[in-house]
């Protein structure tokens, strides 16, 4: 996935702008591993059900005394592992390791059973089978674990975050472009921005509220400016915040106006931990960008941003305020002898 790989070079050029994003298949999900994991999940459930349903028959088969409670418990554990794997697909790495742990337990118990079974041949066969399955479990678990690690590294390890969002607006590309190109307009719809000041034709100074209300500032320059089509910018070298963005304006068919696509890459000031904290606090960049584009559309199409802030309600605080205002008005009226 090109966007993810490019992320390892924080301030590098954005991947070739194209409309639409790619999902799923490219994100490194190798179908073979997932279907193997799925098979192992069903195997767990099948074996578990046998252990739960016919513990005595199983004991007899292995030439052991009646261990039905132990075998039932093992069955329940198998079923739990199986359900866990199936419900966590396509990334069940953690649950696969519970299978490996279960395999180890099974092997231990079978080895202990070798000491007093009346049918050692069957126990040995069972040991061989469990050993084989353990190898498959461990191999699959290992591959899935490595993959989710590398995904995580691609997304966050380089301390930079990539975002793509788009919105459809009715005005044509040139009008949409012109509104965005006046960079001073950006804080009107990007709420986390306090101000953007154009310092000269290409350069601008940005002030934003970072996580936990922390103020951050940086200088950016426009790296590409195609009137009516595209604006790209990035923070200048040595900035406190490393960020790059690009917005494209593409005419939509059938009189549907313009598709506005925003791509942003930035390195959160407090790194990945800061980004996660922001997400918990509901200040995550993805929803900020999404809501920002929504407000851009609202400003462009209606000239205002809809709000209910400041409207009346029957909540206690507002009712008390109303009461105070009435009192004040009455006093005023009495004061001037009305």
């Amino acid at each position: 996935m090109s966007a993810m790989q490019a992320a390892t070079h924080p301030a590098g050029p954005l991947p070739g702008a194209r409309i639409g994003r790619s999902y799923g298949a490219e994100s490194g999900s190798r179908p073979a591993d997932s279907s193997l994991a799925s098979g192992l999940g069903w195997f767990s459930i099948g074996l578990g059900l046998t252990e739960v349903a016919a513990p005595r028959a199983l004991s007899r088969f292995l030439g052991l005394d009646d261990h039905r409670h132990l075998i039932r418990a093992m069955g329940v554990r198998e079923i739990a592992s199986g359900l866990g794997i199936l419900s966590a697909l396509p990334r069940p790495a953690g649950w696969l390791w519970t299978r490996v742990a279960g395999d180890a337990l099974d092997i231990g118990l079978l080895l202990a059973a070798l000491g007093y079974t009346s049918k050692p041949g069957r126990v040995l066969t069972a040991l061989a089978a469990v050993g084989g399955v353990t190898a498959v479990d461990a191999l699959t678990g290992d591959r899935l674990t490595r993959r989710s690690d590398s995904d995580a590294a691609a997304a966050t390890g380089a301390s930079s975050i990539d975002l793509i969002e788009s919105v459809g607006v009715m005005p044509g590309p040139s009008e949409a472009y012109a509104f965005w190109r006046r960079l001073e307009n950006l804080p009107l719809f990007m709420e986390h921005l306090e101000s953007v000041t154009q310092t000269d034709g290409e350069r601008s100074h940005w002030v934003a509220r970072g996580p936990a209300g922390k103020r951050v500032e940086w200088d950016a320059e426009i790296t590409r400016d195609q009137p009516g089509e595209e604006i790209s910018w990035s923070s200048v070298e040595g900035s406190q915040v490393v960020t790059a963005g690009s917005v494209r304006f593409v005419r939509e068919p059938a009189g549907r106006g313009t598709l506005v696509e925003l791509r942003m890459r930035y390195s959160p000031p407090l790194g990945v931990v800061g980004a996660l904290a922001a997400k918990v606090l509901g200040e995550d960049p993805e929803s900020q960008i999404k809501e920002g584009l929504r407000r851009f559309k609202q400003m462009l199409e209606t000239g205002e941003i809809p709000t209910t802030e400041g409207q009346p309600s029957g909540r206690k605080r507002e009712r008390l305020a109303a009461l105070r205002r009435h009192e004040e008005q009455r006093r005023l009226e009495q004061g001037v002898g009305l």
Binding site: G168, M170, R256, G257, S287, K290, E291, R294, K297, Q298, E301, T302, G303, E304, I305, P306, T307, T308, E309, G310, Q311, P312, S313, G314, R315, K316, E318, R319, A321, A322, L323, R325, H326
Partner: protein, 407 residues
């Protein structure tokens, strides 16, 4: 000002609250002269709509007089008499331009909530939960109207409030439900629910060429109105098996179109009805859909089921197999009121339609809680309650001006 506020299930109270003010350049403030309680307000009253907050001002069917306009409203004058449509539309987005006003992309400040629930957000609506914008409603002395240049229709002198008021919601809603049926001349339409929307759907179906309309309800006074005022044949579902009756009335084929004018709180006698009530109480389904189920089973093959009643969430045991195997069409939507106001007003002015026949109760704003109770329990043959904030009871039932506030 005074406003009717929601505080919880079956708990509404008229309280003193601050007056609304202009918050955006395209706002206007209206002094309300008439404001109705809608059947869908009863869903709020019964606590079935999520994201309500204690203190929210209710009401989405209202009209009145313009008292203040924002700097960018250039087609309204102070003193203009207007009806305000319940869906708030911006007038300029893709959906508004396509005349699908209730899908306006810009008017819901809490669009993200609705997106979580439905995938995409519809427009904002007055007094109808925070998921739909959290806008203060019009069961009050004053209301703020966003994008007021789009969201109004001026009412000429000589047209009474009661004739014009229902342009705000239920008249266009009944009309759109019938229009969605694509009625061919002489066809048969069945309408579940003979409340005000059902009555207007029946009348509209005839207006659009239906040969027969069959009204279905359980309250004799509602069935009587459907028969006498709107010319429908009627079925009381507590007395007859609706499916059998509709078969018998249509040569076994079923009605050409069915309209669900009931929505999420449908009643069903017997065990299945109890089943839905239990599931709804346990939050295993959000809506009770017996009417929708029955309509899908009753309608003829290739027919249309038009859903005007409000559903909000997840419905259980919908016979979708009937949709596929009988080749049905389902139509629905919050009403695109702005699309219908002008043509319907013209019919009202011309005397072709007089929607005021549904009004059974006129009350002062202070009596709103009583109005909700009366309407909910169908006491006193209640069909439609109209609140008049200007009306205070002086003992002789005479209207006395009772406005407070700065205007």
């Amino acid at each position: 000002m005074k406003a009717n506020c929601w505080y919880g299930k079956r708990d509404v109270r008229v309280e003193d609250v601050p007056d609304p003010t202009i918050l955006n350049p395209r706002d206007a403030v209206i002094r309300i002269t008439s404001s109705a309680i809608c059947g869908s307000d009863l869903h709020l009253y019964n606590g079935l709509i999520p994201t309500m907050q204690a203190g929210d001002i209710l009401g989405h069917e209202f009209m009145g007089e313009v008292v203040e306009t924002g700097s960018r409203v250039d087609n309204l004058q102070i003193g203009d008499r207007v009806v305000v449509p319940f869906p708030i539309a911006c007038g300029s987005c893709f959906f508004c331009q396509s005349k699908l006003f209730s899908l306006c992309e810009n008017s819901n400040p809490n669009a993200w909530m609705a997106e979580k629930m439905w995938g995409h957000s519809p427009c904002g609506i007055f007094g109808y939960s925070h998921m739909l914008g959290g806008y203060a409603g019009g069961q009050a002395e004053y209301v703020r109207v966003p994008y007021a240049d789009v969201n109004h229709i001026k009412i000429p002198e000589g047209v009474d409030d009661e004739k014009a008021l229902f342009l705000s919601d239920i008249l266009p809603t009944g009309y759109m439900a019938a229009e969605a049926c694509g009625i061919q001349k002489g066809e048969t339409v069945a309408v579940w629910g003979c409340g005000p929307v059902g009555q207007f759907a029946i009348a509209s179906a005839f207006l659009l060429g239906a040969g027969r309309v069959i009204g279905i309800d359980r309250f004799p006074y509602r069935l009587r109105m459907a028969r006498e005022q709107c010319g429908a044949e009627v079925l009381n579902y507590e007395e007859v098996d609706v499916y059998e009756a509709l078969r018998d009335m249509t040569g076994g084929r079923g009605p050409d179109a069915c309209i669900d004018a009931v929505g999420m709180e449908g009643h069903l006698p017997g065990l299945l009805g109890a089943y839905d009530r239990v599931k709804q109480a346990l939050m295993l389904e959000t809506d009770r859909p017996p009417v929708l189920r029955q309509a899908l089973l009753c309608v003829r093959g290739g027919g249309t089921v038009s859903v005007a009643g409000v559903y909000g969430g997840l419905l259980d045991k919908i016979p979708f197999g009937a949709v596929v195997n009988k080749a049905l069409t389902i139509k629905s939507g919050q009403t695109h009121v702005q699309r219908y106001m002008q043509p319907l007003l013209e019919r009202i002015v011309a005397g072709e339609i007089d929607p005021s026949f549904v009004v059974t109760h006129r009350m002062s704003l202070d009596e709103a809680p009583e109005g909700y109770e009366t309407f909910l329990h169908k006491q006193d043959e209640c069909m439609k309650v109209v609140l008049e904030p200007g009306r205070t009871t002086d003992g002789n039932g005479r209207a006395v001006s009772g406005f407070t506030g700065p205007y």
